[in-house]
Each structure stands twice: as C-alpha cells, then as structure tokens.
Subunit: 401 residues, 2 copies
Amino acid sequence: MNDLILRNATLPGGETATIAIAGQRIAAIDRTGHSPVSGSAELDLRGALVLPGLVDGHIHLDKTYLGDGWHSHRPSTSIVAHVAAERQERHALAPVEQRASALIERAITNGTTILRTHADIDPVSGLSNLDGILAARERYRDAITIQVVAFPQSGIIAAPGTYDLLDEALRCGADLIGGLDPAGFDNDVDGHLEAIFGLADRHSVGVDIHLHDAGDVGLAELQQIAERAVALGMQGRVTVGHAYALGTEPWRRVAPVAEALASAGVSIMTTAPGSHAFPPVLALRAAGVNVFAANDNIRDSWSPFGEADMLERMMLVAYRSGFTTDAELDVAFDLGTNAAARALGIEGYGLAVGNPADLVVLDARHVAEAVVARPPRRYVMRHGVIVAQDGMLTTGSGEMT
Amino acid sequence: MNDLILRNATLPGGETATIAIAGQRIAAIDRTGHSPVSGSAELDLRGALVLPGLVDGHIHLDKTYLGDGWHSHRPSTSIVAHVAAERQERHALAPVEQRASALIERAITNGTTILRTHADIDPVSGLSNLDGILAARERYRDAITIQVVAFPQSGIIAAPGTYDLLDEALRCGADLIGGLDPAGFDNDVDGHLEAIFGLADRHSVGVDIHLHDAGDVGLAELQQIAERAVALGMQGRVTVGHAYALGTEPWRRVAPVAEALASAGVSIMTTAPGSHAFPPVLALRAAGVNVFAANDNIRDSWSPFGEADMLERMMLVAYRSGFTTDAELDVAFDLGTNAAARALGIEGYGLAVGNPADLVVLDARHVAEAVVARPPRRYVMRHGVIVAQDGMLTTGSGEMT
C-alpha cells in the first residue's frame, strides 16, 4: 500500500502521470494511466507540473539579514575590507540561528529540498557561526537536507588560528572544508591549498572553494585545484564557486583549464552576477565541466538582493547568459537541479522510482515556463512529506514554530 | 467629505500618514496624525507602504504570447530577419485584443497605472495591431492610462507604404510616432528621421524611437535626434529606447552626446538587458539626462522573459547596474516612477495633494526593500478607485470580464 498517490501530474518532459509515494520514496511513476495504483491518500494535481526538489548548492545562512531588521548596504573598496567590516557588524545582528532559520524557511517554501551553506570560521567568531547553523539545521532536519562547509572567510594564512578552528569545525559537524582566494586573499596559493586539501584528506571530506581571483592568476589556481583533486583521488568532491577567471579570459585560454576541471571532476558554481563577468555556462558544459547555479548571498552585507528562490536564480542565469530557447531554459533548470545535485554528491536525486520523494508542484506547462514565470509553489514535498504549501510551512517540519 | 481615508500608511520617505482621497484625487496627506480627516469609507493599512502608481513607459501589447499558448523562442540572425519571422508568425496567434488584454491585466495587478505601448504598423498588418490595442485600451480605460505609439517595426524606407499608414494611424488614435534604427534598419538616417519628425510636427505628437544601432553610428543618430528635437521645439517630447551606443562606447565619447540629449530634453529608456551593454544610468543622470526603465517585450518572440512587473524591472536594472546601497535602489525606483512619468509627459504624477490618486499598497518598510523584495501588491488604486487587490482585478475596471 502506498502512502500517497499524486494523480494528473505533468512530468518535466510533458507527459501526464500518476506518481505513487511509499516509505519516503517514489514507488511508481505510471505514464500509461492503465496501471491500478492506490494509496492511503490521494491528491489530484489537475495537470500541475511536478519538478524534482530544487538544490541550492551555495548559500550563506549565517550572513543573511532576514530574520533581523533592514541594514542598508555599505560599499567596500575590496573583499578584504568587506570581510573586516562584516566581522565588526556581526555582533550587532540577531543570533545566527534566528537569521538562518528565516532563510531556511524561505528556501523551503520556494521548493528547495537540499542546500549547501558556508559557515564563516575565523579567530574572532570562532565556531559560533557553525554552532548557529548546526542548531538551525537540526530544527529543520525533517524538512530540508543541509550540507555545511567550514569556510575561512577571513583567510587561513592571513588569520592565524583559523587552521585549527577549521580542523575543529570538521570534528564538530561541518561536512566539507572551504577555501577562499588563495592568491587574492591569503597571498599564498600553495600554503592555502595545502592547508585545505590536507584537511580534506585527513577528514575524508569534500572541498568547496570561493574563487574571485580573475585573470591568469585565477586560471592558474583552477589548474592547481584540478591537479590536487586528481592527486588525492577527490574527483567529484571538489567545487569552486564564482571562478570569475573562466568568464574574464578568452576561451582559447579557458579551454585547457576547462579540460582539466572536467577530467578532475571539479564542479563550478555561478550565481550569474548582475554586473560582473562570469563563467560561460554552455561552453563549459560542452567541455564536460559540471556547472551549477546557486543563490549565494541573500539580503546580507554582500548583496541586498535575493529571494532564496532557485527558479529565480535559474531565470537570472538564463537572462545573463542570453538563453532564450526552450532548450536553453531547460539547461538553466538543470543548473539548479541535476547539475547541483551532482556537485553536492547527492545519491538518488530526481524524479525516478526508488529515489527519495523530494518534489515541487506548481502551475506551469513545462520546465521552460517554470523558469521564466517562477509560479508560486503549491506544494513542496521532502522525503514523501508535504513540508510547505502555498508559501507556508506545513506539518512534517519537526520542531518548527 | 472625502471618498476614502487610508489610515496608517507608510509613505516612501518612511513617515506614517493618513491619506484622504476625494473626487479621484489625493485630497490630503496628513503626516501629523492630528488633523481630523474623515470620509465615507476607511481602510487601515497597518503600516503598509504606499507607492505612486508604477509607470511602464515602453511595452509591446501586440507582441505578447500571454493570452495565447506557449510559443518556443526561435533565434534569429539579425533584427531584420527577426522582424520578418514575426510578421509571418503573427497570423497564427490569438487576436491582438485578447493578448493585449492579458498583458494589461498582468500590468494592472502588478501596480502599473500608466503605460506606453508600441503598435506595429507595416504594409502586411496595416493598422490591425493598432486597432486591437485601441480596443483593449477602451476595455480597460477605467483601470489604466495607455499611450499608443505608431511603430514602424518593419522600417519606413525599407517598407514602402508604411509612411501613409503611420499618417493614418496618427489620425486613428495613436498618440505618438515611433521610429526604428534609421541606419541599421532603413539605411537612411536623414530619410527616416525626416519622415518621423515631419509626422510628429504635422500631428503635434511626441516621438519615441527604438535605437539598437551601436557604436559611432548610434551616437551620431542620438546627436541628430537631439538636434531635431530642439529645431522643432520638441524638448521633453522625444524618447529613445535601448540606445545601446550609450553603453557600448567609452564615456569620453558618450559625454558630449549626453549633454546634447540633456539640453534637448530627450529621455532614454533602458530595460537593462541581461547580456548586452546598456546605457550607464548614474552617469547619464549626473549629466542631466532623464533615464527611465521599462519592461519592453513580455513573453513574446523577442524575449521569453517578463512579468509586466515594474518592481521586478527596477530590481533587474539595479542588479545589472551594480546598485546596492539604499540610495541606489531609490534611483532604480525613480526610473519606473518619476523619471518614467516625466518621459511620458504625465502631468500631476506622484503622491502629492491634488494629483490623481494612483497608488500601490504593499508590505515593505521602504522603497529599497520594495525593489529587492517585490512583495505582492495588496491594493492598486487608479484615480481613486481600487482596480486590483491581491493579484486580481476588482470592480472599477469597467467592462472587464
């Protein structure tokens, strides 16, 4: 006996189907309309589109102002200066758990079922950001899957004491080790990469690096990251965010780096920033690189923008990339679903029998329309339980208030 | 006696106020809370933000696929090729009035109270697009103000017969004469500009030109447009859309053109396209040019994107322009309100006593938050009547069904 039957669902490919859910998983997808499926509960979707749960593979739960008052954006002259200002400001904000919870709720109601967040680790904050994030993760554990990266936002070499804190963070619940501009921030490419890949190797965790460094320096760093991934047998477990160098340099110089990233299984994350060059999505995909999209900063000191809505992010990536055809809009959708799940190493992702029943229901005719129109999420289901309906969290969300 | 009192409104500047509406106009704005104001009806806004009605100064009501089925985007190799394909496709679409009505309803529910649309005029379509738009305008005349531009989408010199049709269109209800890439499309800058400014002068109407031409050619055309505006005494009545040349060329060459545009009172419209250079908003404003933002193509053969939501357009302009501070987000808001109203020659626009009561109510703390969050529109009022509430048209919208 199934737990729930979804009737008259439109699948991403356009077919009408009946979906059966049992024991947190997709038990059957009947496209024929002839197989008798029954369950203890039924929902008639009346032709609504069913999508796999959205994946936000790079977000900062500890930085958001959501759950706090409005804070006007203050411009900075450099990343180093901005990081220093952010460390200062942090004391005046509402607790991390409170703000992280507000952002998590926003993500869930928008259809995100899996996210990866960075937690700032530095000698001033210690592990307090990680602690707040872990508390929020526990609170929403029945509604969303959260991976946590121990992120040296203030550098490692530049901020003595950070290395030991990162080491401790990986013992205290962080799932991955992060990195930040080995050249631009720490001014020590080998030292920085040695530190984070060493920690990754020792703790058997993946690596997720913020790389704003542009030009030749950025390309050289990407090459070195790919080489270290191969050397440690970490193919498929290394991700680089931003990677502006892939967008600022001509393709003839990007191509060999793309080849190295592809064969090393290094994934590239882009937000499609509004006024900065970013990685060329189609060219990188054609070269075999796993590119994915994510929301990054949501209403925080780095950006006043953001809705924690992966469909909106897909729209922005499409808009910035000049995507217009249905096939290109399908690519934009892939960036926040399959490609992101691959980057995060999620097993059994997607609308297929046997996979966890993580899905989103909305009114659209197909994926292309979902990306451009970003309709309200009627239902968000995670592990077979409806966790949000019409923009509100529902039961199944554990200890949420 | 007032018709309606709006209590506990938050004004764009942040003050709490009581707003009195009488005879379609704003009769009083009491910031003190001490003046006794009363009316035949009252609405407690509980601190919601009240904004002036949004102004979408460049849209194509006859091109949208809204109100019709989904049509996959087909790429074109040039504007000329795209225009030809569009003329072909038009016969297979739902009637103009039906599609225009769907787009108008979307605009109204999103808070737009004034819009300017282009109507394609060419020897194949004749005046049929104009007729459809005029019918839709009549249908929604109590809910939104619509200006119509007679737009030679297929050129004038390149499409013999168009000149006489434009002349006829201006006798049949079009409010302005349009133009299109005098160099790039008609390959006759003087001939094209002579035609449209001649029609403008003869019919005493304003001019609204689509100018994609980039580089030196585009700058020279802008200079000539400014000169013709001055020669005919048309300061404040000429608008140029896109004006990519202002964004593709270095400022030292743009500056003298900006000066000419400013002193000729020529307004510049930008959509902030996703993957194309566009006019530098702050630099042009500093030079005295009236820059405004508009939605342009909404889900049509030119673009699969678009929500007919001016707050979303402001967000996109801000995102693309690198705007982050509250002051910059206020500029983005100005582009779709005051600056747009100025470009369209709207008298008595804005939240001030004596002006028509066109306003939008939504949940935000201030303008900056309204731009980044684009909250649902709780109420849209036009000429003192609530025309939309929570995304649905309400009474006061005349013959709407």
